[in-house]
Subunit: 313 residues, 2 copies
């Protein structure tokens, strides 16, 4: 049972209508690995600069996350992202993106990482994702996230990378953009002919949907009266999803469905506070309680109707 | 077991990217009653003009719908609506609205209608809705639909009408507009302090949610690869919802949940063809088959996670 993630480790500066945080641990690999760590052992492949201190490393080790493959470039600076949200928390306004050491990132995998059973290719340049994928040919399940930037600027490389992954985890808007098909169901069916065996479409406040060739599974989002900071929700979802799968022997449809719920549970906690603050101090019982909430809010009895009085036809 | 609906009966002219229909049976009461007729006996209170012929009446009687309270004004014309949809089928562009006999509509209820067990107040002027509601004081459950027009132009009357109904069935955008609260969960909680015991928020392609003081239930929409004509989907949902409830002895939470599914099932058929064409020729088995599909696409096993390997904390 081991899970490998490649992605970004960053310092985020975020402003929302509810507050401001000038420097906190962020990036896809951070959100993903902290979320996944509740379910399994995680190896992080990423790069940081000399400004990445022992306090930040401690956050990873507190969660039992293996950082042997977290490359440190002492005379470089860690990736920084600054963003602002208005009252419509669905839209992030990027204030700045300083790639720093991330600009020359070449993922290097140790022997242990190369033997990972599950792999998550976080949202980085598709050539790099493919490079990592090729180093773990024996992985049982590989999932990939991407974004509009790569769909627009590196489409051919992205399509080649998608061909060799098992699960695509993207936003519904990205599924439409990737295929040029406005109807999500049609777009999903098309993507499933490209290689992946499953597509997960994340729909923000509307939940998420899982498509495979034979089945469709859709869940609502956890009903939150307020969202504090949506940054990292998608990676936290992916972390819960992949982390749970990594803890399971059989990666069958039933496991995928429960993994969707655990992904949503983790994302619902993530947005309650800045960065990874809420996720970091979660307990197993809090996670399971919200998992049971999902059952309560989606369950109905399967009793087909029988017409008591025949109409006059 | 009887269900009363007050609303519009109209002739619709609809143009979509997939076709055009110059004159077909439409209006909230038509879509609602045909949908509900699969589950229960329906009485329609509405008004039509001299141009409403025996063919249209036949459509109602084919489904065992009681039209005794369908008032006919021989020297008037039936309500007509013309609309157009572009590729974004979520947005209807109204081309014209000729109220005709509907402009002076004063709903008149026969003794039979006044003894209805369930009542649906379709989307008409809130004073008229309240007038009908006062004539059925003994109804076990009264539901109401409305629209942005009444929220903007008759807000005070609408709020007074809402106070005395049990279930509000509206779009999520309307729930936000009605309360001025952007977060749907908060908006729903607020509406539930006004009188209704339940709120249903319709979310189009994202499904629907049911809010009560104690519970939350959310379902996806049926995954359709193409939507042909969305006109009447909301009223068809309400017809399936209220029709199913009308067939049930206990109007408890479990029945409400199944009613949500049957509402979604009926709406999913409605949008497959123009007007009520698809709904009209449905069979009980088709309805139950899609009901079972909903179970298949929302079910997951409730197995909480157990941490196999403790993290290093």
């Amino acid at each position: 049972m081991s899970l490998l993630v490649v992605g970004s480790v960053a310092f985020d500066e975020v402003e929302t209508p509810f507050g401001k945080c000038e420097k906190m641990l962020g990036g896809s690999a951070s959100h993903f690995s902290i979320s996944a760590s509740f379910f399994t052992e995680v190896n992080v492949v990423a790069v940081v600069g000399g400004d990445f201190g022992s306090e930040e490393l401690q956050t990873f080790s507190n969660h039992g996350i293996d950082t042997s493959d977290l490359e440190k470039i002492p005379d470089g600076k860690t990736f920084r992202w600054g963003g602002r949200y208005d009252y419509d928390l669905n839209v992030a306004h990027t204030l700045y993106t300083d790639l720093n050491v991330f600009a020359d990132f070449k993922p290097k995998l140790s022997e242990k990482s190369r033997s990972a059973r599950l792999v998550f290719l976080g949202n980085i340049q598709p050539d790099l994702q493919r490079g990592v994928r090729e180093q773990v040919p024996g992985a049982e399940l590989v999932a990939l996230d991407t974004m509009n930037l790569w769909i627009e600027t590196a489409r051919e490389s992205l399509l080649r990378t998608i061909r060799d992954v098992d699960v695509l985890i993207i936003n519904d808007a990205e599924a439409r953009q990737l295929t040029g098909i406005p109807n999500l169901i049609k777009a999903a069916r098309t993507i499933l002919t490209w290689g992946p065996k499953a597509l997960i479409a994340k729909r923000g406040e509307y939940g998420a949907a899982l498509f495979t060739a034979e089945s469709y599974f859709a869940i609502p989002a956890y009903p939150l009266e307020s969202v504090f900071d949506p940054t990292g929700a998608g990676d936290t979802f992916a972390g819960g999803f992949m982390g749970y799968l990594s803890s399971q022997k059989d990666l069958d449809e039933a496991a995928l469905r429960r993994a969707m719920i655990f992904g949503s549970v983790m994302a619902s906690f993530n947005v309650e506070e800045f960065g990874t603050a809420r996720t970091q101090r979660l307990t197993d019982e809090e996670i399971n309680e919200r998992f049971r909430d999902f059952k309560r809010m989606t369950h109905f009895e399967e009793i087909p109707f029988e017409r008591a009085v025949r109409a006059l036809k």
